[in-house]
């Protein structure tokens, strides 16, 4: 009587998707900002979570918060590796690093320079690059600062496409990439049959070895 019960129980549970429930996150450049996202590997995003930013030595650089879709932005001020850390409670911690090179590239980007010129990014004194008229803010986040920079920087370059178009294209590409990036992250977390069978194989081998050793010891003794 209990055997069919156990069987139905097992069968009823088998079709459940094998979701790992891990915290995943990533950060990437978004104009003058670092944009990142944090979520669980089953697709839920971490809404309104505190994200703390550290340098590699563990000094706290600042903090930010995720929005309802688990996305946060952070404006870097120093070209060091940024370690993002979010504690989602109950032992769920996301930690990921944006390397110093990437942060330097962000700080060196036209958008960051323009933002620095308008004083929106203090602390980047050596990176202001004041004499570059062809640069244009790609930054869309602080609308006030960006429009200020818009007026300040003359439009020189960009044959064919206006810089507003470029900024818009960059934004569209980023938006289009986001689900893809999420899918890749989810794919990486997927547990396929191969690793499951591989793990079982390891267990069988390990305990087989243990059995062999124990058996030999007993035969000797």
């Amino acid at each position: 009587m209990i055997r069919p019960l156990a069987l139905t129980l097992a069968l009823a549970m088998a079709p459940l998707p094998a979701l790992a429930h891990k915290v995943i996150g990533g950060a990437y450049a978004d104009g003058a900002l670092i944009e990142g996202e944090i979520g669980f590997s089953n697709g839920d995003m971490a809404a309104d979570a505190l994200v703390e930013v550290f340098d590699p030595a563990g000094t706290r650089l600042g903090e930010t918060r995720t929005d309802g879709d688990g996305i946060f932005t952070y404006r870097p001020t120093a070209a060091v590796a940024h370690v993002f850390r979010a504690d989602l409670g109950a032992g769920h911690v996301a930690e990921f690093t944006l390397s110093a090179d990437e942060v330097a590239a962000i700080l060196d980007s036209p958008a960051a320079r323009a933002a620095a010129e308008t004083g929106a990014a203090p602390g980047t004194g050596d990176e202001t690059g004041a004499g570059n008229p062809s640069t244009f803010p790609l930054d869309r986040a602080p609308a006030g600062a960006a429009s200020g920079a818009l007026a300040a920087v003359p439009l020189v370059a960009a044959p064919g496409l206006s810089d507003t178009d470029k900024a818009e294209i960059a934004r569209i590409v980023r938006d289009e990439m986001r689900p893809l990036r999420r899918e890749i992250a989810a794919y990486r977390e997927r547990n396929d049959l191969q690793s499951i069978l591989g793990g079982i194989g390891y267990i069988a081998g390990l305990f087989g070895l243990g059995f062999y050793i124990a058996a030999r010891r007993r035969l000797k003794g």
Partner: protein
């Protein structure tokens, strides 16, 4: 259930590792020739069980089956569950290598506790009574594991009560499912192979 890398303070991680090493050493002494096949089976079931997710609300929890492992293996549950956890960390990225000790302790210690609490009930009596004890043992093991996770988080700075309550509440469905599953497994074992528990407990080396 698995605490991930970086969630715990260093002293907690080190303390957990030391205690887990002790537990595994104690368990290996207990791992007799008779127990090894059973330990391997339970290790494999534990390894796979974590992939069966019970969705609750926004999150999901998975089966652990440490109660069953403890009931059958006693101290030998330590090495068995340690191997399962190690492979889960390597293959699936559940938990992590640095917190392996804490996770082992959180999952295997309840198994041992349940073993000592329930072995009398399992050894004597009808399969029905054995199943009853096993069901309680299975549920209790999860409760203790949730408590352990809450404690580990609390020692690392999170306020104990909210953290523990969250973990505990999330695992109430698992406790129910796991209790039923353990009871069913033990009932089956008691019917088909009543000497399983006797053999496995059997002659010490």
């Amino acid at each position: 259930m698995h605490i991930v890398d970086g969630a715990l303070a260093a002293p907690v991680v080190i303390g957990g590792a030391v205690l887990a090493v002790g537990g595994v050493a104690r368990g290996l002494r207990d791992l007799t020739l008779e127990k090894i096949p059973a330990a391997g089976m339970l290790s494999a079931s534990f390894f796979v069980a974590s992939l069966i997710h019970v969705p609750i609300g926004p999150s999901s929890v998975h089966l652990i089956l440490n109660g069953l492992a403890g009931l059958v293996l006693g101290w030998a549950a330590f090495p068995a569950l340690f191997v399962g956890l190690l492979l889960q960390a390597v293959f699936f990225g559940f938990g992590g290598l640095t917190v392996l000790g804490v996770n082992t302790l959180n999952i295997a210690l309840p198994a041992v506790i349940v073993h000592y609490l329930c072995r009398r009930g399992l050894a004597r009596g009808t399969p029905r009574i054995a199943a009853l004890w096993a069901g309680m043992g299975g549920a209790l093991a999860i409760a203790l594991t949730a408590l352990g996770v809450g404690l580990a988080l609390a020692l690392s700075g999170e306020a104990f009560l909210p953290a523990a309550r969250l973990v505990f509440l999330a695992h109430i469905p698992v406790m129910a499912v796991e209790g039923l599953l353990t009871a069913a497994a033990v009932y089956l074992a008691a019917q088909v192979k009543p000497d399983l528990f006797a053999t496995v407990q059997g002659p010490q080396r």
